[in-house]
Symmetry: C2
Subunit: 195 residues, 2 copies
Amino acid sequence: MYPEFKNFHQYFTEKALVAQKDFEKLLPYFSVEKYPKGHTLLSKGGVNKHIYFVEEGLLRFYTKDENGKEFILHFAPENWWLTDRNNLCSNEPSEFFIDAYEETSVVLLNHDFIEKATEISHEFRTFHEHILQRHIKQLYRRINLLISTPAKECYIEFLKTYPNITQRVPQWMIASYLGITPEAVSRIRKELASK
Amino acid sequence: MYPEFKNFHQYFTEKALVAQKDFEKLLPYFSVEKYPKGHTLLSKGGVNKHIYFVEEGLLRFYTKDENGKEFILHFAPENWWLTDRNNLCSNEPSEFFIDAYEETSVVLLNHDFIEKATEISHEFRTFHEHILQRHIKQLYRRINLLISTPAKECYIEFLKTYPNITQRVPQWMIASYLGITPEAVSRIRKELASK
DNA sequence: ATAATTTCTTGATCTACATCAATGTGCAGA
DNA sequence: TCTGCACATTGATGTAGATCAAGAAATTAT
């Protein structure tokens, strides 16, 4: 069923507990897109009101400093959400970049979808609120890690948050996510391996 | 008007653009509390489903590590919101602490208030969504700062976020918020003063 | 006011991680 | 298969900020 958005469907019915009949009502309100490796979905200064559900592949959300150095705020592999939430409500230009690191297919939603879905399905409404709250909590956890913990433990936490992503992205992206250098990641790994 | 929650009222009518008649309908749905300096509103392991609007005073939101060292995630002076959002939806015990660093009076809301307010006032609904999104954006900015920027600039950004808080809290709390030591804050200040 | 406690400053050393540089490794294209 | 090129490793050295320690200043308690 729904080969193009199997994960999305499964997520809605099994995680968000949205009834199949409600899901069917929502079919007209979203679309599926496929992006090649390296495709840019949002650049600094742009406006992008989409909410992405990653069906397959890997997106990354990041900033660049004056020298073009990238800082990754968030990876989004299969079954993750990604959006520049600021953009949703306002028309302010974004400070962030989003691009596809692998060939990626996404389910494309916008604010109307959320409105419609919360109207149709009480389950979705509750679930949507829940994921927003959980997202905020995760961000606080990450801040807490960054201000309280040395790089080695941040790396260990990273592995827990994104199991198997290590094999899919170059080391400098992990370093960029952790706020350290690729060399430091290499040494941390060496040390962890020796145990 | 409303001497006990003047700021709250002003915030609702002027910032959230809630009509006076709608505000009046909400009067039965919240209460005002006053806490003495040092009062603990939430401890790790506890559950606390309140949303606080700080009418007067100063709350802080923080964690502690195994050695009891505190890490401040968030200050909330007048006109700020504070809540352990995870707690709102679930009954999981909290990982965080909240306490009053000054004598503080808060407007106490809970999830029902938000439901009611979004039902009564479309303006509030939009505004509430907006502040959630903005909150997430702020958290990403902070993460971005932490992974990309040396302590001095983090300190400068802190001053922008919380003008005048410097005079109200000890230096170690600022250090704790920035993830550095009080000595480092002292040196950063000295350096900034010499310009 | 005096004592006690907390906070702030400053200096001396230490350490985690950065930077720079060289070498090694695996994969993509001719 | 050889040639690049991006990526990973390792070593040598530098530096921001930590830690430790002592004294000054400010606050709070007696």
